[in-house]
Amino acid sequence: MIEAILHTSLRMATPIVLAALGGLFTHKANVLNIALEGMMLIGAFAGVIASFATGSIFIAIISAIVASMLFALLFNVFGITLKGNFIITGLAVNIFAAGLTSFVLQVAFGRRGVFSDPKIVGTTPIHIEFLDKIPFIGPILNNHSPMVYVSIIIAILVYFVLNHTKYGIYVRAVGENEEAAKAIGIKVNRIKYSTVYISAILCALAGINLSLGNLTMFVENMTNGRGFIALAAIFCGRGTTLGTYVFSFLFGFADSIQMRLQNLNIPGTFIQMIPFIFIVLVLSIVGAVRMIGNLDRGIKDE
């Protein structure tokens, strides 16, 4: 039971994990990336279309990344080069992505709402032999779509890059004190661009995981707010890699608990609130504990 729940949690958390890890880069560079949602959606879409057209999962992934990066380019041009507001450009990316996916679906493929077809090739779950021998952990970690494993590797990579490489230091410096970074000759805008591209790549993977890993289809607006949940996970995790991962996972966990509890004799809507209330409670408790012994007055300048 617990194994099954955790297995589900991991699977459900993966798109959120990937998007959140991507968003973490922009977050660190002090770019509020509301566009995670749209980038994920366009990734999911391009992946499905490419998989349908070529039958190659590899080409699907590449197409998803390219498409998502084109949207990142839009975000960069309008948000950074032309100094538009990040939130507006992010929202515009989301609206644009939602519109474009259904438009293309309708005009180019003559379909509405759903794009599913036997020709669409999804990723196949991976079975790892040696995990069979490990009790408890084995069943949780085994038999997932490749993106699940990729996401774990990426989490480690992200941790390494952010904390142990020059690039990571520059990203953080740009995010915390742009002036300081500028004064030392770091090309601030270039760093910001790159973080948006990285988040686009990871969002594309998140989208692929959704449309070709968890499912093998595209449905209009199928990301369904996961980009915002990812954003929340970043903030909950206070911008640390581990924290972001943990909170993304917690969302998946709370959601899978919620699904299992739906058979209790409580109105379904209240059960469905569990993940959201759970996160708010966790944050409140963490916040309250941090406040103990605090002597400074006023809101902290975050």
């Binding site: 390494f160 142990h164 490489t165 020059k166 230091i169 520059y170 953080r172 410096a173 915390e176 004190n177 002036e179 300081a180 970074a181 500028k182 004064a183 030392i184 000759g185 770091i186 090309k187 103990i292 012994g293 605090n294 002597l295 400074d296 007055r297 006023g298």
Partner: protein, 509 residues
């Protein structure tokens, strides 16, 4: 041949000309001082040399060659390094990370932290600074930040080092040390440009001086040919009192008392330990001490930014322990905070708005429910006049003001409300001598009007000139109290180092 030369360099901000046809000349291997009033355009000039600002007109020649400096990277490549007046450090990074920012040492693609720490430690030791490379910037006092900035440039091995008011936040000992290191750097062949408001330092270390007034060079002299007074006069255009005279204090009743004040933080460290003192009407009480000995916390607690864990504060007989600053100001206490741009001003708000903050709920600016813009404007214009605040545009934001003028905005705001007590922390940090004279006069006037001033300063001469009585803080406690007229720099120095029993030292020595 000059290592740095500018030809008719001009910088305009909109209609305002901050630098006008500047022809700066600096010789290789000299220490060149630049002096001028607040807002004269010194930082602007330096920022152009460092690529942070682009000139509107004119040319820059480095080592005789025409150059375009688009950004700091270009400047560093040309061998120019700059330490800014307002620090540019990353608060959550450690000292070593800040120093090596942009020049990290790596092993493969991984940053080699061990090596970085070692290298920075060596650098720190080489220049004899007393800082720990692993501390985070957000946890160190402002003086340490300054040193980190200097080390950042020294590490980069630049030929030309620009220091924009490097000594403003250093203790006297640190200043001496810095000046010695600057000398060493010069011996090693480096050229140094130093901006400072402290003419003593100019005399002590520089070879030549450029004086800027209102965006133009008024004079370039060899340091040995002038006295401090001459320089002051060149800067301001009139004679300046380097030390404000004050009459005998007429001490009145007790106004403000601090009893057994203690602050223990989350980590159970005592930041303040049983602090006791009283401020009486008609006096100026100075708080001296090496920075980082609890003065900042003391000020935070008595100005309502932080709560104490123990103790009592009384004002006019009323218990005001742990009052927020809102209430404190209402009781007639003026507050001049240490960190100008963090607690005193808002860069992105108008001058007029900054001049009402803290008193924005009094009926001076209309009623509580309706502001009267005429009153707000009148207040602004009056204060700009009365306190001689030099503004480009009175309608502009405080962020456009030079450091000294920004400070005057705070002084004007707090003093104009006619307080009975002023708590002033580093009131003249980074302020030009003309303005120092002015601010000191204002504070003394207050004292003469039977009001009181509590002043915290790391500038010993300021403390000694202004105060009637001085307490010295050491490791969160008041270690001693002296009479300002009778004490000596030496005595204060000992107290600040935590030595109370001088005989002990003398016997040992």
């Amino acid at each position: 041949m000059y290592i740095i030369e500018t030809k008719n360099l001009t910088k305009k901000f909109g209609d305002f000309t901050a630098n006008n046809n500047i022809n700066l000349q600096v010789k290789k291997g000299e220490i060149h001082a630049i002096v001028g009033e607040n807002g004269a355009g010194k930082s602007t000039l330096m920022n152009m040399l460092y690529g942070l600002l682009q000139p509107t007109e004119g040319e820059i020649l480095i080592k005789g060659k025409h150059v375009t400096i688009k950004n700091p990277r270009d400047a560093i490549n040309l061998g120019i390094g700059m330490v800014h007046q307002h620090f540019k450090l990353v608060p959550t990074f450690t000292i070593f990370e800040n120093i090596l920012l942009g020049d990290e040492l790596t092993k493969g693609i991984r940053i080699n932290k061990k090596k970085e720490i070692k290298v920075v430690k060596e650098l720190i030791d080489k220049y004899g600074f007393n800082i720990n490379p692993k501390d985070k910037i957000q946890n160190v006092p402002i003086g340490t930040e300054q040193r980190v900035e200097i080390l950042k440039m020294l590490y980069r091995n630049v030929d030309i080092l620009i220091l924009d008011e490097p000594t403003a936040v250093l203790t006297p000992q640190e200043v001496d040390e810095l000046l010695i290191s600057l000398n060493e750097l010069r011996e090693a062949g480096k050229t140094i440009i130093i901006i400072t408001h402290k003419l003593g330092e100019v005399k002590k270390c520089s070879d030549s001086v450029t004086v800027i007034r209102k965006g133009e060079i008024v004079s370039r002299v060899e340091t040995n040919d002038v006295t401090e007074k001459d320089l002051a006069k060149l800067m301001v255009g009139r004679d300046v009192l380097l030390q404000v005279e004050k009459s005998e204090a007429k001490i009145g009743e007790k106004l403000f008392t601090v009893n057994n004040l203690s602050v223990t933080n989350k980590q159970k460290i005592k930041l303040l330990n049983n602090v006791n003192f009283t401020v009486k009407r008609g006096e100026i009480l100075g708080v001296a001490g090496v920075e980082g000995n609890g003065q900042s916390q003391l000020i935070k607690v008595i100005t309502g930014l932080m709560k104490c864990t123990n103790g009592k504060i009384t004002y006019k007989g009323k218990n005001i322990t742990n009052y927020p600053s809102e209430k404190i100001r209402k009781l007639g206490i003026g507050i001049i905070p240490e960190d100008r741009y963090k607690h005193g001003l808002c860069r992105n708000m108008k001058i007029s708005e900054n001049l009402m903050a803290g008193y924005h709920d009094t009926n001076k600016f209309g009623s509580t429910y309706h502001y009267n813009y005429n009153k707000i404007k009148t207040n602004r214009d009056e204060l700009i006049d009365d306190f001689d605040i030099r503004v480009g545009s009175a309608d502009g934001n405080v962020g456009q003001l030079s450091g000294g003028n920004a400070q005057k905005v705070i002084i004007a705001r707090e003093l104009s409300m006619n307080p009975d007590l002023v708590i002033a922390s580093q009131p003249t940090r980074g302020v030009d001598i003309g303005s120092i004279e002015f601010i000191h006069k204002q504070l003394i006037k207050l004292r003469n009007d039977n009001k009181a001033v509590l002043v915290v300063s790391s500038e010993l001469s300021e403390i000694m000139n202004l105060s009637d009585r001085i307490i010295v803080m050491y490791k969160g406690s008041v270690i001693g109290e002296v009479n300002a007229k009778e004490t000596t720099k030496e005595e204060l120095g000992f107290l600040m180092a935590g030595i109370t029993d001088r005989s002990e030292v003398e016997n040992n020595g």
